[in-house]
């Protein structure tokens, strides 16, 4: 599971159960959630349970997992329950057993076998050849639009970008402001700390972040969020380079097409045309970053595919790119020295990192940016980035800040030391424990669902 779309996970987890019920009615949504949002082990659980007629006793599932995989198992089951995919039912006289919830299981089965009348995988449209748009054209369109959005944000830092002729629509500008990625000070647009985090993400995560923002904003525009979400998942199941008909879309989804065109996620020749083309941004929505690394959107130059950055242990950095946007982003935290036709060379220095930190960029963001855009030659090594450079970047940041905030939950007021220790050990085992104090019988965790469930189980048993 990639960390990239954590934000979208959290948003989805917050939705009420009825929304999930409506969402899972679409087979394309069930398939997309299965593919994109579940951890690897959870997928195996779902598939094992999918064609079983009777519920699977909890003990059977536990026996299937090796003892050292307990942590992974608990995490998988916890997430499945939070996404309302798996429920544990207790019937009198029978052991506790897991079943898949119904709209999800039925939809996933339908997605695997085909059939039904849901039309959720997009209706291809037959158009004449002269209307046809080639894949390179679509890629170019998507790149221009998306870099327009990024350029608008980076451009605000005062780094001069060559204008590539994309005028951002007011809707997108409003969305960026709404989401707190940029803010207006007087007449100037300034990028925020969230904005930097956004820019340094990989493309797929950026698109998801943007779409979640759009989704949150959609309610204000009287758009049905289930409608919006299921259309997004449908987009992810479309085929690149094929035209699709707009005939089956709801009014909300037709409206969405216009907005998504601004981001370069879909392409339509005119707003009134009868069909649209999904771009690579859309068709890779439900794939992992592995699938994206080879796509040409990961880097903007057409010749290099995938990553383009090489870092040496002496802090020198070489980036094989000619895109002004990429150079501008690099310039946020490196001192660039030389520019060649297809490459820039620079150095990571204390000053350049301090400057970045003062703008609100964190070392983790820099490191994850360097990792996601690492050159294929770098990817062969393990670890990918030189340890000295990574450690030094973090140390340079730590010079400035000595405090780190972690949102979470405090557990306190335990009756006995035994209660405290048992729960505390469990929290540590599942990896959510941040801090504990033996004397005060208090501890702090990042997530409370599993711990609370454990506590409930204990209470039931005791």
């Amino acid at each position: 599971m990639s960390t990239s779309s954590l934000r979208s996970f959290e948003y989805l987890e917050g939705l009420p159960g009825t929304t999930f019920n409506r969402l899972y009615k679409q087979p394309s949504t069930a398939l997309a959630i299965f593919r994109r949002m579940l951890p690897h082990l959870a997928k195996s659980f779902v598939m094992a349970l999918l064609y079983i007629s009777r519920p699977m006793p909890v003990t059977d599932l536990e026996a299937w997992v090796r003892p050292d995989g307990r942590l992974e198992r608990d995490n998988a089951i916890d997430l499945l329950e939070r996404l309302h995919i798996l429920t544990a039912t207790t019937k009198p006289g029978k052991p506790r057993a897991y079943t898949l919830t119904n709209p999800f299981a039925a939809s996933l089965r339908l997605a695997l076998t085909g059939g039904g009348t849901h039309k959720s995988f997009g209706v291809p449209s037959n158009i004449s050849d002269d209307d046809h748009i080639t894949i390179p054209e679509l890629d170019e369109f998507a790149r221009r639009q998306w870099e327009g959005v990024l350029g608008y944000m980076v451009g605000s830092t005062g780094i001069d970008l060559a204008n590539n002729g994309v005028e951002l629509s007011p809707g997108v500008q409003h969305l960026l402001k709404q989401g707190g990625l940029v803010e207006t000070r007087g007449r100037r647009v300034e990028i925020t700390q969230d904005g930097f985090a956004f820019i340094l993400q990989e493309v797929n995560a950026q698109v998801w972040t943007m779409l979640i923002l759009y989704l949150q904003n959609a309610e204000a525009l009287n758009m049905d969020e289930v409608d919006v979400l299921s259309f997004l998942f449908t987009l992810g199941s479309l085929e690149l380079g094929l035209p699709y008909s707009k005939a089956n879309l709801t009014p909300t989804q037709s409206q969405m097409l216009l907005d998504l065109g601004d981001f370069g996620i879909i392409h339509q020749t005119t707003p009134t045309s009868s069909h649209f083309h999904p771009t690579r941004l859309a068709t890779t929505l439900t794939s992992d970053s592995n699938g994206l690394r080879s796509s040409s959107l990961a880097s903007s130059s057409d010749t290099t595919k995938g990553g383009f950055i090489v870092i040496e242990t002496n802090y020198r950095i070489y980036a094989y790119t000619s895109s002004t946007l990429q150079i501008a982003i690099l310039q946020l935290f490196t001192r660039l020295i030389t520019r060649y036709p297809n490459m820039v060379a620079g150095k990571i220095t204390r000053e350049s990192i301090r400057r970045a930190v003062s703008m609100g960029i964190t070392s983790d963001q820099i490191i994850s940016y360097l990792t996601t855009h690492a050159h294929p030659q770098m990817l062969k090594k393990q670890p990918i980035l030189p340890a000295t450079v990574v450690d030094q970047i973090r140390l340079w940041q730590l010079e400035g800040d000595r405090m780190k905030a972690t949102p979470g939950y405090l557990f306190k007021d335990f009756n006995t030391q035994g209660d405290f220790e048992g729960l505390c050990r469990y929290a540590e085992e599942i990896g959510v424990l941040v801090w504990k104090s033996e004397g005060q019988r208090k501890f702090f965790v990042t997530r409370h669902e599993q711990v609370a469930a454990y506590l409930r189980n204990q209470a039931r048993r005791g």
Binding site: K43, M47, G69, G114, S289, I384
Partner: protein
Amino acid sequence: MNAVDGSDHYTKTSDEPPPSLLTIILDTNPHAWALLSPTLPLSAAIANLLVFVNAHLAFNNANRVAIIASHTQRAEFLYPLPAQETSSHTNGSAPQNGFDNDVEMADDGEPTVPPLSDDANHYRPFRLIQTTLLTALTTLLKTTPPSSLTPTTSIAGALTLALTYINKTTLSLSTTTSSTAPNADTTLAAETAPPALNPRILILSVSGDLAHQYIPIMNTIFACQRLSIPIDIAKIAGDTVFLQQASDATRGTYIKLDHPRGLLQYLMMGFLPDQTNRKYLVPPTAVGVDFRAACFCHRKVVDVGFVCSICLSIFCSPPEGAICLTCGTHLQLGEYGGKPVVVARKKKKRKNVEDGKGKDAT
């Protein structure tokens, strides 16, 4: 806890499991399927297999699949179909050259990607596989002349095809994701870099009696062992000794289906988890493995036989003139055969050992 001093190294590795390549070898021997038809007809098995393939593809966008038919006297790709111009040549490598013409004819009328009906109710990649597989399988069964109907199946040929396909895919993937030279040693690259692809082979076996293919099968098994490609076996019917050894040597899963009707559930639970997930799961493999071998002279499965001390070939009885059929070494049989049959076997063994250069009994 102690992260403030930055002393813990930040080792960011790509935590996502690599995509997996599933190569399915489907035993399409018409004899065996005809016998099975009361419990599990071929059409039902194919339907189950398609759901399983789709489930595999649903795991990850980058997951790939290949389906190979192990037919009576040849092995053939069912998905993906070989490219048009090379199809006749690749199929020409099948053991029976006499069928070249049939294969060519079968592929002539078929475009590599069959045209798809506009169906918005089916995920396009799934539909593509379904159409291709069904078309290829129908063609294959139609072009099987009644004369070629034997109770055997060419598992060895299919395994070889699977290995070539895995090798080709791995190479093409490693050149796109990391610019390795195509002639670079793949095993070396695999050690330094995380694997770009998790290949595995699944054999759906229905017919028994593979003894006459003992040597090629064992060779492919050893190749898989070296490349660490697990071979999973779903034994629907029949009984073969060597497939158990195949899964055992390559650390695959061997399941003998007690209820062939429930094929889908066996597939979904036992064979769907890839290598990444198998680390966490208890494998459903049976414990007892039959380690018997087949002799090189008559292809008989033997418990105890004679082994050439030079090339380790196995014989069920001492070869004629005590000359090894494989390497031609003249072997000294010691006193074997000179004694009457009453002599206990154990004694014979000891004598051979004492003899040193003579035949060892295994």
